[in-house]
Symmetry: C2
Subunit: 191 residues, 2 copies
DNA sequence: TTCTTTTGCTAACAAACGTTAGTTTATGGC
DNA sequence: GCCATAAACTAACGTTTGTTAGCAAAAGAA
């Protein structure tokens, strides 16, 4: 185990770290290469371009979010429990991919077309999966009747910022964060 | 009224728009100048540097958040009403400065020292003012006993992302957004 | 061994970057 | 009308950008 990572893996990991710290546009290929321990042109043996790197980071994360959601959504039937399950799954993906998550949330806008368009589409689809659960919950009477778009948005905002929590406070466990956040939000939704 | 805006004002406004759309690092001075309708070096008649521009945008917003908070905090006594008042004030500042708010929230990291440090300090102070209200509310028994840091964070996340709501859905009024969001959060806090 | 693929290197390109210098034109006060 | 200041211009600076070309060393397969 703990197989020595390939250069390509090291490039990706270092890019995630630097993109997160200083922003995609502010990080140069020379700086990235230096951190990896090679020369800038050697990066192109592993990735076609700077954009190619960002693309892999962002779309790998997207894939993870979808997979975690789909796995979680099947385990529960009741609206509250179902919503709680996907909230926890979402937070779990963030927690286990801290750096990549931040790049995913904050740097996707630098993707070039046509990948930018595809990314936006996927993101929208994912958000709709969340909203469906809330809408159904409202319809079934499990949740209070309220503006679902607005509420779904508020929930999403809180979730998508949890990476800041992990970074700012090491004492909080993932369980604790997921539990408290979903409690707060679910209680607000109570009918 | 509607006084014709000075060139300096136009520069700032255009910078806000471009920085928001494409990110501070991705916007060049030539592009900014072109959008304003002047040549790049002419920008330096109004601002000392690119960083100077970002600084004015960010610190002007900071000033507005503080002023709105201080004005709102005096109007109410009860914890719930007080928290609701500052939430509304915060959302109101965002709503009336949509573009500058997004720059404030997403591009501050590109500030150079020493202003970056000052900015972080102010931001922390502002967040603490919010947390104080929550902590006092918990102590007085107005709010449920819970991890205040985590909860304060969740509230902040939802608030600070409201600009996305305004951008994505024009039908929602500012009143509606402020009312629904604070309702959701306050209900979750209920003891 | 020999051949092929991978992965690194140095040198260099064209373009874009923020900014400065020096000059001209427009504006407002006396 | 005269002078000072503000605000625009053109030209150019040195640096950094992402990337390509061409070549050398290492690794793996036959």
């Amino acid at each position: 185990m703990a197989a020595t990572q390939t250069t390509k893996e090291k490039v990706k990991q270092t890019a995630q770290k630097l993109f997160r710290e200083r922003g995609y546009a502010a990080v140069g290929m020379r700086e990235l290469a230096k951190e990896v321990g090679i020369q800038a042109p050697s990066l192109y043996n592993h990735y076609k371009s700077k954009d190619d790197l960002l693309r892999e980071i962002c779309f790998d994360m997207a894939k993870q979010f979808f997979a975690a959601f789909d796995k979680a959504v099947t385990t529960e039937e009741k609206s509250q429990r179902k919503l709680k399950a996907v909230i926890k799954a979402h937070i779990n993906v963030i927690a286990t991919n801290l750096e990549a998550s931040e790049v995913f949330f904050n740097e996707w806008m630098f993707l070039e077309q046509p990948h930018l368009g595809l990314f936006k589409k996927q993101r929208f689809e994912y958000e709709m999966k969340f909203r469906e659960i809330i809408d159904k919950g409202i319809k079934k009477g499990d949740f209070k009747k309220m503006n679902s778009k607005l509420i779904a948005f508020a929930i999403f905002s809180a979730l998508n910022a949890t990476y800041e929590l992990y970074r700012s406070n090491e004492k909080l466990s993932q369980e604790e964060i997921a539990e408290d956040i979903s409690d707060l939000l679910l209680k607000g939704l109570k009918s």
